[in-house]
């Protein structure tokens, strides 16, 4: 029953800048199943956005896929997205996979009305039928609980942050993609607005049955919406599992640290703990486990080879040589 729709195999992405090569994604293996919500969490600079933009091949000019495959399995065929040329990509982006970008709230062109931006997006992907786009846009805007006539004729600055985020989500659904990638969809929004966007995403998921990838440094978004969670650290996935596994039975010291670092409001007090130190420089990476300088479970073997993901339970993978000893005991 669970069919995979996307399979990322041994993916490496780098950026080159003056100081050297930033190894932003290192050897990621990840599957996305049909109709599931996958959350990608990890701290700033861990490579979440890079992985997301690599999937739809919209890396900035200094970034490139160094190695690996991104296999998309749609309508009975398999395609390797990493090999697509510009023409293939135009056929593919937004129709099969769409993305709502981080800080896209500010990426609207301030002098264009919402309608023009929607139509430009559609045109860029080969859809020139004005009335079709308009009809679809109006029904989508209504669907995301906006007043379509008003919004479509507004300039971006006339809309609040939450409204803009909803417009962006509506735009991403324009061409009925099978996969939707959302990069920090609730960051910088107010709590009541966040809740509203979360509910909206739930509805979209239920109605359209698409697969979603949420990128966020905010654990609560994953707790709200994810079926499975992938934890990234220094460009690699260090733990992957169901949302219950990750939140209640984490087996990687970093995941454990993250979860223990976040206070909750209504769940009473739990023992909090902060991870010392800061993440490594992605240009000069030392060998061994990249988390070792901050890890309280570190032993000398940790600094030798980088641990790879091993299955520790059904569909639960951890990259830590001492995973057996990590117990949350919550």
């Amino acid at each position: 029953m669970v069919k995979e729709i996307l399979n990322i195999e041994n993916l490496f992405v780098e950026y080159s800048n003056i100081r050297g090569k930033v190894k932003a994604v290192r050897g990621v293996n990840l599957k996305l199943y049909k109709g599931e919500n996958l959350a990608l969490i990890g701290e700033s600079g861990s490579g979440k956005t890079t992985l997301g933009t690599a999937i739809i091949r919209l890396l900035p000019s200094s970034g490139y896929i160094k190695e690996g495959r991104i296999v998309y399995k749609g309508n009975g065929n398999e395609y390797d997205i990493s090999k697509f040329n510009e023409k293939d990509l135009r056929q593919f982006r937004w129709k099969e996979i769409a993305m709502v970008f981080q800080s896209a709230l500010n990426s609207f062109n301030p002098v264009l009305k919402v309608w023009d931006q929607i139509y430009d997006t559609a045109k860029a992907h080969g859809i020139n039928n004005r009335s079709f786009v308009r009809e679809r846009a109006i029904s989508l805007l209504r669907y995301v609980q906006l007043d379509p006539e008003r919004v479509i004729n507004s300039y971006p600055h006339e809309l609040s942050g939450g409204m803009r985020q909803r417009v962006l989500i509506a735009m991403s659904l324009l061409l009925e993609p099978k996969i939707l990638i959302l990069d920090e969809p609730t960051t910088a929004l107010d709590i009541l607005t966040q809740r509203n966007i979360i509910e909206l995403l739930r509805i979209i998921k239920a109605d359209m049955g698409l697969s979603m990838i949420f990128i966020s440094h905010d654990l609560s978004l994953a707790a709200e919406l994810a079926d499975r969670v992938a934890v990234m650290y220094a460009g690699a996935i260090v733990e992957l599992g169901s949302v219950e596994d990750i939140f209640y039975r984490p087996k990687h010291p970093y995941t454990l640290g993250l979860i223990k670092a976040v206070p909750t409001v209504t769940a009473g007090f739990r023992e909090l703990y902060s991870i010392p130190g800061s993440p490594p420089d992605l240009i000069n990476l030392s060998p061994g486990c990249k988390f070792s300088p901050r890890c309280e479970y570190k032993i000398s073997a940790c600094e030798k080879d980088e641990p790879t993901l091993v299955e520790v339970g059904p569909d639960h993978f951890v990259a830590c040589i001492r995973h057996k000893e990590i117990n949350n005991g919550r």
Binding site: G162, L192, I259
Partner: protein, 333 residues
């Protein structure tokens, strides 16, 4: 409590002049309306509320960066804007601020040493370079930048976000303050680093007996840092609820506070997926230029009382000891 107050706001209002539209005239936008508040020595007061509700403005008013349009701000009982020079200088030294963004709060052209020694020299705390160096090392040690010698000659861009925030905290300590406004001091930092900065602030509070105004939009952080203190909930420039932290969290009174607590996503799947968010009447936050009459929450409040809530501004009621709320539902209770 009153006589032990270190900072008091006495019916403070603040308006900004803004242009509306390109050709539109100037308008007065009231950002803070009739705010009265008293913060006791050694207390932690958490100011929570959503973006744009006036938290930073309140903080800036307290540290004297901006002047109130009306009302008085008292430091140890004296109105700061009618102080003598000498008194004002003392107040300036005693009340410090930690900014939200550690990337813009440190001047990129200066090294850590210069950032921390400038106030020391200016106020005659140190006389020469070796004294300054010693004092700076001590400050760095105090904020856990150890070994301090590794940090003293670094430029801000050579430090991580958390380290910069520690430098900013060290700078706020240079003049031995009595009161610190921490304006979203951790919200720009990574989840994994936030807690250690909070712990540092907590330790400083205990060691140096500093009073804190802890500004945040994150109720969980407020709860964590200010459990022994009080929480004030702000909405559109007014405090709608204020009380001891455990009471506000466990027994929120104001509909807005309730809505926030019911809506807040939390890092625990079972808890967060079982939330039943309050159905608000509207999602739109009214513009400060066009505030609704009466209780400013009334266009969104599911409990509004027609004819009352949209006509009059509710007073502060005290349905529970030291727990105040500005909502007609509690009138006479």
């Amino acid at each position: 409590m009153e006589d032990r107050a270190i900072i008091q706001l006495d019916h403070v209002s603040k308006s900004f002049t803004v242009r509306s539209g390109i050709f539109g005239g100037r308008k007065h936008m009231q950002v803070i309306g009739d705010l009265s508040l008293s913060i006791g020595k050694g207390e932690v007061l958490c100011l929570v509320g959503e973006s744009g509700c006036g938290k930073t403005t309140t903080g800036k008013l307290i540290v004297g960066l901006i002047r109130p349009t009306s009302g008085r701000i008292l430091f140890e009982g004296k109105d700061i804007w009618s102080m003598h020079n000498e008194e004002f200088k003392n107040y300036r030294k005693a009340v410090q601020i930690i900014h939200q963004d550690p990337y813009s709060s440190l001047n990129p052209v200066h090294r850590v040493y210069n950032i921390l020694s400038a106030p020391l020299f200016r106020h005659g705390i140190v006389k020469n370079r070796s004294e300054a160096e010693e004092k700076v090392l001590e400050l760095l040690d105090r904020v856990d930048l150890t070994p301090p010698r590794d940090f003293i000659y670094k430029y801000p861009h050579q430090l991580s976000g958390g380290q910069r925030q520690r430098v900013a905290i060290a700078r706020s300590l240079t003049l031995n303050p009595k009161f610190i406004v921490a304006d979203e001091a951790v919200s720009m930092l990574d989840v994994s680093i936030r807690l250690s900065i909070i712990e540092l602030l907590r330790r400083l509070k205990e060691e140096m007996n500093v009073t804190f105004l802890f500004i945040t939009h994150d109720l969980a952080m407020a709860k964590y840092f200010g459990w022994e203190g009080r929480i004030a909930v702000m909405y559109l420039g007014r405090i709608v609820e204020i009380g001891p932290t455990p009471r506000v969290i466990e027994n929120p009174l104001h509909p807005y506070t309730k809505a926030l607590l019911m809506a807040i996503p939390e890092a625990d799947p079972q808890v967060t997926r079982n939330k039943k968010p309050m159905q608000l009447r509207s999602l739109d936050i009214p513009s400060l230029l066009n505030l609704p009459p009466g209780c400013s929450f009334n266009p969104r409040c599911p409990f509004w009382i027609e004819g009352t809530c949209d006509r009059e501004v509710p007073d502060m009621y005290e349905p529970e000891k030291n727990h105040y709320v500005s909502c007609f539902l509690f009138k006479g209770k």
